[in-house]
């Protein structure tokens, strides 16, 4: 009920009081019963929930809607019941009863928010009537039936779907401030890593969680706010009022708190966090899709800053997002125009510093910006689904190059975790080997620990199949991420690559050394070779050697080299091997 209807409810009552002045002072003009009925009829016709009180706080009238809200049997007329007795037989809790009692005793206007026993919130407003009489107007704190969504309801959660949300935002944009339009907010909420819930517990549990999220979202919002499920685990809310950045951020934080608390689908505890992007109308846009896009850009920024965060849209985000889109276009063009190159860094076996292979490293030579390092473009490629085709090209090019080297020199190729999900990695490896004729033992696939996090069973299955073909598997960047021993034991890796940060001493010399020693020991006991990356000086070489590493890679033995320089590099190692000198430990 809007405040407007509440006032119109009060009016017939005042009319009646005016027409029947005697009612209050006991001298009847018109039969009080008639006018009671009249008022009751009016209120009932309007569906209003109201309690009319006499000067002595006796109940003159209780409409049916009010009886329903209070959870009491309706009684047609006052029957002299005191408000206190009415409240005592209602299902309101003690606090709510007290609040409503005090509201009734108040002078002038006032309102209170009550919680009914059934859990619903009730908004109570006090309207002072002539002759010290009082009307308590009750409204459920949200519009009783959901806004009619029709075919725009999401079948799983009953929230508005994307089309319904866009329609609501568009309608809202068309309203003048007088019609309740004006400034408003759009929040886009995304459940972090929700796919893990689906992957590990199954889509049925995932659906239960989504339904519970929708219910909490609905319960946390105020009347007038519209929640929607855009798709999958992405929700949105149109925020009707309180649309300053600080207010919207506070609301977003509150939603992140309640929606981020544990769920118990089928009795299994599920923890989630969520990220939120905020856009505001009219500042950030005057079209529904612009607002939604900008809220999504803000969401993206929040996620990029780490999950479980919120961000409000800023023009800089737009600029960054455009740069990223430009990068995406460039990437697609680069792929088509073959602007990618592979460089190769020597890998050396200890103790005699014998070259045993190269690691293939992807380079992008941008016509305008020069070399772009992989850590700048690989995340974008992953995001836009280009990583699988680029990865397949890398495999094919690296295998082709390796056939030009003297056997048994090997080539190590980095594979992104997403290639296990998005692309046909097995197919790409098979076709690279078949087309080039490279012996499978000369190809090594490097994966990072994080690749094993997302969908361990599927990933391990693929690794085993690669292994059956004879391909070697290395664990890359070990020590930087989660570094779990169980993950090392989950697959018989051929080689563990120790991250350069432990070798360079960047993490503290003693600590780095201790970690190198631990990993080398672990490798030895699991029957895996250990290669230290980033070895640049003789001291570092001596150190990792002393700690038990079996192999090294780094500037000391060679930078990544272009294909045309490789014959010279290989020849150089041949010469060095001829005059091998023991390096003192």
């Amino acid at each position: 009920m809007t405040p407007g209807t509440a006032l119109s409810l009060a009016r017939p009552v005042r009319d009646r009081a005016a027409r029947v002045p005697a009612f209050a002072n006991g001298a009847a003009g018109e039969a009080p019963g008639d006018s009671e009925d009249e008022a009751a009829g009016l209120l009932a016709a309007l569906g209003g929930a109201a309690v009319l009180l006499g000067a002595d706080l006796g109940v003159d009238l209780l409409t049916e809607a009010a009886a329903r809200l209070l959870g009491v049997a309706a009684h047609p007329t006052g029957a002299g019941e005191k408000l206190k007795d009415l409240l005592d037989r209602s299902h309101l809790g003690p606090a709510a009863r007290q609040a409503l009692g005090s509201l009734a005793r108040l002078d002038g206007k006032g309102s209170a928010c009550l919680r009914s026993g059934a859990g619903a919130k009730i908004l109570a407003r006090r309207v002072a009537l002539p002759h010290r009489r009082t009307a308590l107007l009750l409204t459920p704190d949200r519009p009783p039936p959901e806004a009619p969504l029709g075919q725009h309801a999401d079948p799983l959660t009953g929230l508005a779907d994307r089309a319904g949300f866009i329609a609501a935002v568009t309608a809202r944009l068309g309203q003048t401030p007088a019609e309740g339009g004006g400034a408003f907010g759009v929040l886009v909420l995304d459940l972090d890593r929700f796919h893990v819930v689906n992957d590990t517990l199954g889509p049925a549990i995932g659906d239960q969680v989504l339904i519970a999220v929708a219910a909490r979202l609905r319960a946390a919002l105020r009347a007038g706010d519209l929640p929607a499920r855009l798709n999958g685990d992405e929700f949105a809310v149109l925020i009707h009022a309180g649309t300053g950045v600080a207010e919207l951020e506070a609301l977003a934080r509150r939603l992140m708190d309640t929606l981020g608390r544990p769920y118990l689908p089928d009795g299994q505890p599920v923890s989630l966090s969520l990220s939120v992007g905020i856009a505001r109308a009219p500042e950030d846009g005057t079209a529904a899709d612009t607002l939604l896009r900008r809220a999504a850009i803000a969401l993206h920024a929040a996620k990029a800053a780490g999950r479980a965060r919120l961000a409000a849209f800023t023009p800089e985000m737009q600029a960054r997002s455009e740069t990223r889109r430009q990068m995406e276009t460039d990437l697609r063009r680069a792929f088509a125009l073959r602007q990618f190159e592979l460089h190769y860094q020597p890998q050396v076996e200890l103790p005699d510093n014998r070259l045993f292979g190269f690691e293939a490293l992807l380079r992008w030579r941008h016509p305008a910006r020069g070399f772009i390092p992989p850590d700048q473009f690989v995340p974008v490629a992953e995001e836009v689904g280009l990583i699988a085709p680029i990865g397949a090209w890398v495999l094919a090019a690296a295998c082709a190059e390796a056939t030009r080297w003297p056997a048994p020199l090997t080539v190590a190729v980095n594979v992104s975790g997403l290639q296990f999900e998005q692309g046909d990695l097995l197919g790409a490896v098979a076709s690279a080997l078949d087309r080039t004729g490279l012996a499978p033992e000369r190809l090594e696939i490097e994966i990072t620990e994080s690749a094993l996090l997302v969908n361990p069973e599927a990933t391990l299955g693929i690794l085993h199949q690669l292994r059956e073909r004879g391909v070697r598997i290395a664990m890359d960047d070990f020590g930087t991420g989660y570094s779990s021993l169980t993950r090392l034991q989950s697959f018989p890796f051929d080689r563990i690559k120790i991250d350069r940060s432990f070798v360079s001493g960047r993490r503290g010399l003693a600590e780095g050394r201790a970690i190198v020693r631990a990993i080398a020991g672990l490798g030895a006991s699991l029957g895996m070779r250990t290669i230290a990356e980033g070895v640049e000086t003789e001291e570092q070489l001596a150190s990792v050697r002393a700690e038990g590493c079996t192999e090294v890679q780094g500037y000391l033995f060679g930078r990544p080299a272009a294909v045309c320089d490789l014959p010279a590099v290989i020849a150089g190692f041949g010469r060095r091997a001829a005059q091998v000198t023991e390096i003192p430990v």
Binding site: G93, P94, A95, G119, A212, A215, R216, A219, A220, D257, T258, R261, P262, Y263, L264, D266, G267, Q268, P269, S271
Partner: protein, 140 residues
């Protein structure tokens, strides 16, 4: 008819009730006043323990009732940072007869509850011991 299988949830949470100990006690009493009839109606038993900084609670009953009650409690702004220690089928009720035993206020911050991730079993034992002391819970 066989009764539905029992389920038990144990969680800890951080209190957001500020102010004096008296205020805390009053708020706990209000929580219990709502919780007890409600739990009794839904066939839920359990115990609630609080410190100045947080809560530990065990809820046991039919799964659907435990889920519904737990969900209501999740929406309560009087606490936050809820961490579920255990949620599992229960052979028998450990708090039989108690719609919500008041395990009382533990002075200061209990080491068991302030750990980064407390173990379920000792928290359950603690709840039982304190509830038994405070409420003369029958020994099973």
């Amino acid at each position: 008819m066989t009764p539905p299988p029992l389920h038990r949830v144990i969680y800890v949470s951080r209190s957001r009730i500020g102010g004096t100990e008296a205020r805390l006690r009053a708020e706990i009493d209000a929580i219990l006043a709502v919780a007890r009839p409600r739990n009794a109606a839904e066939n839920i038993t359990g115990a609630l323990l609080f410190t100045r900084t947080g809560f530990a609670q065990a809820l046991e009953g039919p799964l659907a009732a435990v889920q519904a009650t737990f969900e209501r409690i999740q929406r309560d702004p009087r606490h936050g940072d809820v961490l579920v220690l255990a949620s599992e089928p229960a052979g028998q009720r450990l708090f039989a007869g108690w719609a919500m035993a008041d395990a009382g206020l533990v002075a200061g911050t209990h080491p068991l509850l302030s750990a980064a991730s407390p173990a379920a079993a000792p928290v359950l034992t603690l709840l039982r011991d304190l509830a038994r002391e405070a409420e003369h819970l029958p020994v099973v």
